[in-house]
Amino acid sequence: MKHVVFKAYWNYEKEEQWLNSMSAQGLALTDYFWVRYVFEDSEPGEYIYRIQFLEKLAKHPQSRKYIDFVESTGAECVATYLHWAYFRKKAADDPFELYTDIPSIIRHYRMIRAFWAPLALLEYVAGILNIIAGVTPPVSPVNIVLGALVTLLGVGFTLMIVNVTKKIRTLKKKQLIVEA
């Protein structure tokens, strides 16, 4: 049976945790689009899910090549959305991780940060310009509300960037002593 859940996440790692807790209850993700998650019944804990940020859009040949490679190792790509890919693998196989050493984990985080930082800046600029346009007479409430919303989006992106930056810093410290 299909179950549709609408949910929004700022933090893909929390999202991944949620997908895995759903899987543990016997609800396996089979499709995703924006805020819409589709689950199907499965054995509880049958799959482990991993979410991955792709440098290029999922439809780009470079991303296709990568997704093909991951699938050739026994995982399955259940959904892609813009730059994100949703993989799963049977839990009975080896532990399912996409990145297993510090340098590659850091590279993945850096890719995420490099992508979102300019977007955050863009949201702030657009938000502030809208607010300025809104408060200069003739006052336009639409611009003010729109500006506030866009600025808020910028704040959301910033939180994501801060989170990833903290993770990179912790890993770099760890890397001074150990490799993996």
Binding site: D68, S72, T73, A75, P95, E97, L98, T100, D101, P103
Partner: protein, 107 residues
């Protein structure tokens, strides 16, 4: 020995060691797991990045098969073999010094 080479990551060391025989990606993952008796698990993302870097460095090369084949195989090159040998020499030094100093301290 040519220019001094930094320590190889565990992943790279085991990938190179695996590719003394031609192998595709999943084969490498399984082989590394067996070689290390389950201790080293290679993620597909980590392996993919390492394969591309090693191809660029010329330490491994595609092996046979028509181009564009889904399960591409790779094999180590002479340069890759030299890198593994240099790493083994470096690790032996660590091992010898480690044992000598600790055993010396015990006496």
């Amino acid at each position: 020995m040519p220019e001094a080479q930094g320590a190889l990551t565990e992943a790279v060391f085991y990938i190179l060691l695996s590719l003394t025989q031609p192998m595709h990606g999943y084969g490498i993952m399984q082989n590394v797991n067996e070689l290390s008796r389950g201790r080293v698990v290679l993620g597909a993302g980590t392996l993919y990045g390492a394969i591309n870097t090693l191809l660029e460095k010329g330490w491994i090369t595609p092996y046979g098969g028509p181009p564009g084949e889904r399960r591409k195989e790779y094999i180590i090159t002479p340069a890759g073999r030299r890198a593994v040998e240099a790493e083994i020499a470096r690790l032996s030094e660590l091992l010898e010094n480690g044992r000598r100093v600790l055993e010396g301290a015990e006496q």
